[in-house]
Symmetry: C2
Subunit: 377 residues, 2 copies
């Protein structure tokens, strides 16, 4: 679909990028990449960034090159795209209970195993275990399976403790499945603003994981790995001593919503690295309108912010955002929006424009494809 | 991007459609199509449906076959896609003030003119007029230009009356531009729930248009056409006597948000025709989770509704929706969601699955491509 590729030419100046376009400040992104990699190394915890955020093979490779052990994905189709792109260690951190999808899961697992990699997956139900075991039997290889426990998010996952043990036992007993450990992610805690409130939530997460580990140990089962955490709380999970792996994804780009979190002193600082370049197409007495609406950036976590200008986005429609401020922008002027939520914003675009040298005066270094855009199934 | 095409096979039963998938109930859609076409004929008003909603050449052609005079688009890239697809009469009902985009506008206008069609466009600024006139000079053809007036939406458009006259005069005086009339759309009024409140808003719209027409007439300029209206209010604009053309788009699919409007007795009833098929992937004591989050349906106008079940969507995340109800669905069960807002939902998908014979027991009749998905520029 040519129509959806932003008009940007490698080597051209930032001012030539057509609008609206999703733009990566590569310098800022690489600093974020390094800071998180250094944090994980310093805290002796594995980093498995969530590729559901960027959906890009190119960026996954750069995360691996910086020390990540693999990537997480949330959808079977994302696993397929990442495997196609040469990513060898993929964790599907979500529930799959469809026979046709599990056949695809098994195919990916088989492909990765043949080249020395692996696919692992989460479950939270006996049915999920039974169907997965059947699918893996067809390709005749083993798969690491993580029991997802609900640590406060109220979404997927069984209760910590005995219910988790029951599933772990079923996994251990099921042909072709190996008990890999626990998936314990509290999505809601990521966006709790105050440091102290996040500490309390993650303390409860850690307690729930510890209780589950104790129940498993008492039954003679050990959880080889506990995996979870996101950009809002990863320093707490890393410090807990029970999490062996961090799944944060948004740290690479940061968004307007995460920037509202009070930052803990023990957490590295990340910079905004993802922007929507937009043009002002209409100016009235008391407001202006730019050409990026919620088909260009997702508003599920709030409206975007305008970068380094005293202008506020006050409303959004499909193809436009309405702006107010003491000094309105000029008709035709370019502005840069910081999306409210990076994951669904990236999913609106087929490609991102990678800029080197900053948003003012930089040049287009490369186009980063959103390989798994729309990979929903 | 193969990964994003829903797994549906023409001729197969509805139950075989992989999830999440965007599905059209073709029978319901065709009834909506006929009802709106009949309404426009009966009220002697032209129908120019907004193709920003479905972004599909196939559906635009069916609207034309049922009597529509052409389509509206909101983006230059959408005009290109529709022109590529053989649509001959396109109105770009939005502001374009970029030199490179206006060169593309002129190219589309030139292509359409050569085959006996036409592109028309809205403006709301002297700069827009000047740049457009320059772009049209390069291809040496005339274009119909509509002055957009702000009739209460507070987005694009000049004030009604004298400011509109000033722009109309500039258009009439500018090389290659013809004054086509007024673009007068009140987006906010579409979603006002009570019939009486919508009546009052559109009465003010009609008064503003009438005032502008009087000012134009006093200056010896006539607005050949007034175009506007949406699915929430079109019966009021049609009855006004001043609107010659209706731009409604959502009537074809209807969404959960529009269904909350109190229906006026003089307005045809439209049925939900767009659904997201989703599978339940996790069931807990008090909630269940399905596999369609806000990467599969847009939540900017509220959460989706579950079709014909006593189950409520209570939360949405990127890849999941959380469900509650007195009776929870079964693990693995398929559900049908009515999206909160059809336009940005369609834009998330590369294709829609057209089903004949209903969501229960029907078969896949055809795949409808979302040709202009991501056509943002």
């Amino acid at each position: 679909m040519m129509a959806s590729v932003p008009s940007a030419r490698v080597g051209a100046g930032v001012e030539t990028i057509d609008t609206p376009a999703l733009v990566i400040d590569l310098d800022a992104m690489e600093r974020n990449l390094r800071r998180m990699a250094e944090f994980a190394r310093a805290h002796r915890v594995a980093l498995r960034p969530h590729a559901k955020m960027h959906k890009s093979v190119d960026l996954a490779r750069r995360q691996l090159a910086a020390g990540a052990v693999g990537v997480c994905v949330q959808k079977t189709a994302e696993a397929e795209v990442m495997a196609d792109g040469g990513i060898d260690d993929i964790f599907l951190s979500n529930q799959v209970v469809s026979v046709s999808k599990l056949a695809r899961v098994a195919t990916v697992a088989h492909r990765l195993a043949r080249r020395g990699g692996r696919l692992s997956i989460a479950v939270d139900s006996p049915l999920g275990i039974e169907l997965l075991s059947g699918a893996m039997a067809a390709v005749d290889i083993d798969i690491d399976v993580f029991v997802e426990i609900d640590v406060g998010q109220g979404r997927c996952g069984v209760a910590p403790g005995e219910p988790a043990l029951a599933l772990a036992r079923r996994i251990a007993a099921a042909p072709k499945l190996r008990f890999g450990g626990l998936q314990a992610y509290h999505g809601g805690a990521q966006h709790v603003r105050a440091v102290q409130d996040r500490r309390e939530r993650i303390a409860r997460v850690v307690a729930a994981v510890g209780r589950t580990q104790a129940v498993l140990a008492a039954a003679g089962l050990r959880a080889p790995l506990v995996t979870g955490a996101g950009t809002g709380t990863f320093a707490l999970e890393a410090a807990s001593g029970v999490f062996g792996e961090l799944q944060a994804g948004s740290y690479l780009f940061m968004d307007a919503d995460y920037a509202l979190n009070e930052r803990a002193s023990d957490q590295p600082e990340f910079e905004h690295a993802l922007f929507v370049k937009t043009q002002v197409v209409s100016v009235a007495d008391d407001h202006a309108v730019c050409d990026a609406g919620h088909k260009a950036h997702a508003v599920d976590s709030g409206l975007p912010r305008v970068w380094q200008r005293e202008i506020e986005v006050v409303a959004c429609s499909d193809e436009a955002a309405t702006l107010r401020g003491a000094t309105l922008p000029q008709l035709g002027e370019a502005l840069w929006l910081i999306p409210g939520h990076c994951d669904p914003t990236v999913n609106l675009h087929d490609a991102m424009v990678g800029v080197r040298g900053g948003l003012a005066g930089g040049v287009v270094e490369r186009i980063v494809n959103v390989d798994a855009r729309g990979a929903l199934s």
